[in-house]
């Protein structure tokens, strides 16, 4: 039985097996970089290695191009004259990442100091902004309040020594009448001994007066806004003629349609000058 022996055998064939129509031989597989063996393989050219008579690469050489072999020889004019020294060397320093500049000079020597400083700056800015915001809001709100001249007009000052005991004085304050009564001792006792918890608008006389002998109230009936008459009514205080509300000597509603006691405005008594400021 016949056996087929496939064998691989290196065969050296001529490199030029084909010729172009121009007459140039085609050698497509020539390896110009191939070197000879390391041994002196028996045909007498001395030690192996690059041939000593081969011109250097810069002087020219043989290369294979698409149009065949090209042999080039470069000619250089000989360097004459002064050789200039290049003092600035341009060789790059070897770095890990050559594209990144060297920031090591700017790196923090101590990260915690940097962090503390950064947060101090953040906090200071926050503090200033909070302060500015607070000022803005308060200044804006202050524009809504009454101005100083209006407030000055809105106060009334009066001499207390000019009002004798047991007398009423009616003054005008912010367009409304204000009753001021210098109460006698018996009137004070009467006002304070009343069982105020059972009244329609329970309020103690102590809560309505700063000093017991001075009773200050807005002279506007809490029913429909008439001005009550002093020293009248069933309870010795004020009486509203419009619908018959009776107020006692502390200005509290006792009888009639009014729902609330006579209103007590803001006032201050200056003991030294014996003056009263309403408003």
């Amino acid at each position: 039985m016949a056996t087929v022996h496939l064998s691989k055998k290196a065969v050296t064939i001529p490199t030029t097996v084909r010729t172009l129509s121009s007459g140039v031989p085609v050698a497509p597989l020539v390896n110009l970089a191939a070197r000879g063996g390391h041994d002196a393989h028996g045909h007498g050219h001395g030690a192996s290695g690059p041939r000593s008579d081969t011109p250097a690469r810069w002087a020219g050489g043989v290369s294979r191009t698409s149009s065949g072999f090209v042999s080039k020889t470069f000619q250089y004019s000989p360097v004459t004259g002064i050789h200039q020294k290049s003092l600035m060397h341009t060789s790059a320093v070897v770095r890990d990442a050559p594209q990144v500049p060297d920031f090591s000079k700017y790196e923090a020597k101590d990260p915690s100091t940097n962090r503390g400083l950064a947060y101090l700056m953040i906090g200071s800015l926050g503090l200033l902004s909070a302060s500015a915001a607070k000022s803005t809001v308060t200044e804006f709100l202050a524009t809504m309040s009454a101005s100083a001249d209006v407030l000055a007009m809105a106060k009334v000052e009066l001499e207390l020594s000019s009002i004798p005991e047991g007398k009423n004085v009616i003054i005008k304050w912010r367009g409304k009448p204000v009753f001021i009564r210098h109460r006698t001792q018996s009137e004070i006792e009467e006002a304070r001994s009343t069982d105020w918890k059972s009244l329609r608008d329970p309020e103690s006389d102590e809560a309505r007066t700063k000093k017991p002998e001075w009773l200050v109230m807005l002279g506007v009936c809490t029913h429909l806004g008439c001005v009550p008459i002093g020293e009248a009514g069933d309870y010795g205080g004020w009486f509203c003629p419009c619908h018959g509300s009776h107020y006692d000597i502390s200005g509290r509603i006792r009888k009639g349609p009014a729902p609330l006691n006579l209103e007590v405005p803001q006032y201050d008594i200056n003991e030294v000058d014996n003056k009263m400021v309403i408003g």
């Binding site: 101590d110 915690s112 100091t113 962090r115 503390g116 400083l117 947060y119 101090l120 906090g123 926050g126 503090l127 200033l128 909070a130 302060s131 607070k134 000022s135």
Partner: protein, 62 residues
């Protein structure tokens, strides 16, 4: 310096619940102090020109 910065960070900044109130109370204190300081500066620059400085010349106390 580093110890100071660390103390500052650990005491005030580390927790937001501390940092924000510190900022607000600081803002309050700052605004009060700023107000006082500016008023003092104003009074010093306008010494003798304001009503409270010359009031005694025009009002005799009874």
């Amino acid at each position: 310096m580093s110890a100071l910065a660390s103390t500052f960070y650990n005491a005030l900044v580390k927790r937001n619940s501390v940092f924000v109130p510190v900022i607000f109370t600081g803002a309050f204190a700052f605004s009060v102090g700023f107000d006082i300081g500016i008023t003092k500066l104003w009074d010093a620059r306008n010494q003798g020109k304001q009503w409270k400085d010359i009031r005694a010349k025009y009002i005799e106390e009874e």
